[in-house]
Symmetry: C2
Subunit: 339 residues, 2 copies
Amino acid sequence: MAVTIKDVARAAGCSIKTVSRVVNDEPYVSEATRARVQKAIDELGYVPNIFARRFAQQRSYTLGVLLHSGGYNQQAWLSSILEIGYEYNYDILPQSYFPAYKKSQQKLASLIHERRIDGLVTTPPCDLDEFVLQQVTQSGIPLVRVNPYDRSGDLPYVSGDDFQGARMLTQHLMDLGHRRIAFFRGPLNHRMSVDRFHGYRAALEEGRLEYRAEWVQDSLFNFDGGYNATRMVMRGEDRPTAIFAGSDESAQGALFALREMGIEVPGEVSVAGFDDMPLAGNTWPGITTVQMPYRNIVEQAVNLLVDVLNKKDSGLQQVILPGRLILRGSTGPVPDPQG
Amino acid sequence: MAVTIKDVARAAGCSIKTVSRVVNDEPYVSEATRARVQKAIDELGYVPNIFARRFAQQRSYTLGVLLHSGGYNQQAWLSSILEIGYEYNYDILPQSYFPAYKKSQQKLASLIHERRIDGLVTTPPCDLDEFVLQQVTQSGIPLVRVNPYDRSGDLPYVSGDDFQGARMLTQHLMDLGHRRIAFFRGPLNHRMSVDRFHGYRAALEEGRLEYRAEWVQDSLFNFDGGYNATRMVMRGEDRPTAIFAGSDESAQGALFALREMGIEVPGEVSVAGFDDMPLAGNTWPGITTVQMPYRNIVEQAVNLLVDVLNKKDSGLQQVILPGRLILRGSTGPVPDPQG
DNA sequence: CTACAAATTGACAACGTTGTCATTTATTGC
DNA sequence: GCAATAAATGACAACGTTGTCAATTTGTAG
């Protein structure tokens, strides 16, 4: 029915193995033959049978991706990885994964043993899950962790630089003249929270600004967290002129709270987020934030995985990529203290 | 290396074909044999080789999903379909698709001809794309449209009932005593916009309320749309007491605008959205909205597709499922006119 | 007990590619 | 021009399952 490699071989007057060589860009085919075969392929509209190929090679050309459904920035990871997967000609099998859930574990086991994925990509916080690590080591499937919660261990990862991003953002606020900068710190068991916090402190130190504990609020990275933390830091007389909310959702909560209090943004108080989620541009004013190079991160992750699969890499790389400042309307010059 | 069907056959003392029958739950195996084979499978830890199976059957057991990346409610569709795909033991290959983009078209062609997907699911607005329809008819691959923009044609679909949802929501506002209800209508080339509008009007008529054109704003389904439309309807003296914003994002914009104007929600004006997106519960107050049964819709869609693939269905079904009212803080009783 | 149908089982081909290895052809060094 | 080497090519097995069909066993009606 469909055109097979045999039809091409017949049309090109050569063996099926030679056609296979041409299709897979292998060496040891003369230019003349290659051209003849290519012509036959084009004329017949031959498309290699993917089932046969995977069967013969016992490789799935498929990568599994674990996503945390409630997750932080799942959307950005997923769309990037789909894109990159297409470019590398790998199938992407995403699965939502809740650490320690029986059903999630079954799904992962199915990916590995039934679907026979060639490699696995984790997004936070799936890299923390015991079961994931155990399955990976047991099966020997190459793993790359994307933005891992936990950077310890030999396992490879590609991650955005939360420290650098937070420092850069804080620096931006200082460049605008702010000297009183509040920071909303996320959960302390997230490496990202801690890294961002350290970035904030590093910038303060570099600018010789005093660190004031009452302007650092422990909160969640969500709307309510930002809302409540804003209420807290804006209570007294001694208010900050800028709020680095730690995440975009949190910044949104801050915007809402400030609006409620009749405080103008950025006229009286500047607000900044982190992550550049879609919502960050959709508020008014738009939220100044740090964009992590999702596409780049995922590209490097997939690249690493594919190299390991093709034995071009030992798979021990650990990469950290810088973020980028996205300036929007929510930050502005510090108000004139006299005004 | 790995355990194959031959190993099981040897252990169970039967032919490989009999093992195959047991594995695939086919008839014509005696109970005794079935038990013996099952025991061997369990003891050896046999897992069928998916490559060989797909190769022999020339079926991918894979469904393609076209998602509009900027899209409306992509997230909800995707996580549902991954879930359902797992349950049906089908692989899900999602692709972001921008109508009329060359690259998107290449991706779709690749899904069909290289990946050889067994069926295709479209999410709005991909069901409108000429190329999609052409590829589907040409290749004969079964298609199900989920929440199609366009319900015309014989192609099967499973859709939420926007009309019923909007009517129900409007009815809810009327039950709270509102007689002056604004409606923000989305783009008129979206069936959903139109259906929701008709639902709104139907409810008004049933409640014998006057339809007032100046309270219907043509806007976009996003934050800015809701913000601007709110500014418009709240301009004059003759203000509505409730706003049905047409979508959650739009409702968020409305909340923001009302807050700016110092109008209390729901004390002075009630606000309602549509879709129950994650953000709807994260604002303050939470947005009363209509939740479409995403999981259910997708389940029926996949179910239909699988039935067609197994020749249990002709694939002409068109299903419409009702939504559900989600009550949150943004709607309340109409304020006392005397107050 | 016989004839026939139904249930059960197995032998073997087929699916379309890639991997291995042998063979043929071209190229190089002397 | 000859041997040695490298490049090009092809024959054929292997991958592990399912589909087809024939063979065998069991059950049933008369």
